[in-house]
């Protein structure tokens, strides 16, 4: 087909639950359409591939101006007072709610989604500088992570790719 050699590379730099999904959803769509996918995890984005963290990603309501109470079924766009965000339990609650909504849409959890991408042929890499900074090792990452590479390696391996920073 015409787009045979199209390649997409995602740079995942965020570890919040909501920011884990864009690369997973677009990456999966890309694989389904025959586009090569590479994902580079850097800084907080490494939480997505960290065995100890991947199942515990969260979304804090604090300082999130888009999160309104309509997510909880309250009509309109009534805000959540910022002071509420600091109450213990609010972040787990918001995270639980988002996971429930995702589940309702049959969107798999992050760990399972990453495995789907790996099985579909996506190549996952961790950022060397971030790995050194956080004191991590390759064993700390889920199985699909191929290697720990430098920014320069990433640039070499994504020649001709469309690069999306998240």
């Amino acid at each position: 087909m015409a787009e045979q050699n199209r390649k997409v590379a995602f740079i995942c730099s965020k570890g919040n639950l909501d920011m884990a999904y864009p690369a997973l959803i677009m990456g999966w769509a890309a694989l389904g359409n025959g586009i090569d996918v590479t994902i580079f995890f850097t800084f907080w984005g490494m939480d997505m591939i960290n065995k100890a963290r991947v199942d515990h990603l969260e979304i804090p309501p604090l300082a999130n101006s888009s999160m309104k109470m309509n997510m909880m079924g309250i009509p309109g766009y009534i805000g959540i007072p910022q002071i509420m965000g600091v109450i213990p339990g609010m972040t787990p609650f918001a995270s639980w709610l988002m996971k429930k909504k995702m589940d309702g849409l049959e969107v798999p959890p992050v760990r399972e989604y990453l495995q789907m991408l790996v099985d579909g042929g996506a190549k996952l890499y961790a950022c060397k500088m971030s790995v050194d900074m956080f004191g991590l090792k390759k064993e700390d990452f889920i199985d699909g992570v191929i290697d720990i590479v430098s920014a320069s390696d990433f640039m070499d391996m994504t020649e001709g790719s469309q690069i999306i920073f998240i």
Partner: protein, 105 residues
């Protein structure tokens, strides 16, 4: 909307070459489209996926997504990508005489 003749049968297709009426699909058409997609001769494993998609679409009214195929038809993601390499989402739907899946997963 245009028509084209596939495996001796004239069918309606959209601009991307997907059949617009699943009822016009035949196994011979699937075999022909599979060749066009570079899959060669369809194996029983291919047919199992195609038949699942046909049945699922007939009951839900839309083409199943890859995730739905792997979760429901008992074929692994790896196998699905090996059976229909380089873009299984479109290939499975096209060969099965369905439109592109609307879902994102």
């Amino acid at each position: 909307m245009t028509t084209r003749t596939i495996a001796g049968k004239t069918v309606q297709v959209n601009e991307e070459g997907f059949l617009t009426d699943p009822a016009e699909w035949t196994k011979e058409i699937a075999a022909e489209l599979a060749k066009e997609e570079g899959l060669g001769v369809l194996t029983p494993a291919h047919w199992a996926v195609i038949e699942f998609c046909r049945k699922d679409a007939a009951s839900t009214g839309k083409a199943p997504t890859l995730r739905r195929i792997t979760a429901t038809a008992g074929v692994s993601t790896k196998d699905l990508f090996a059976l229909f390499p380089k873009g299984p989402a479109k290939k499975v739907a096209r060969i099965s005489g369905l439109t592109k899946p609307e879902g994102c997963v």
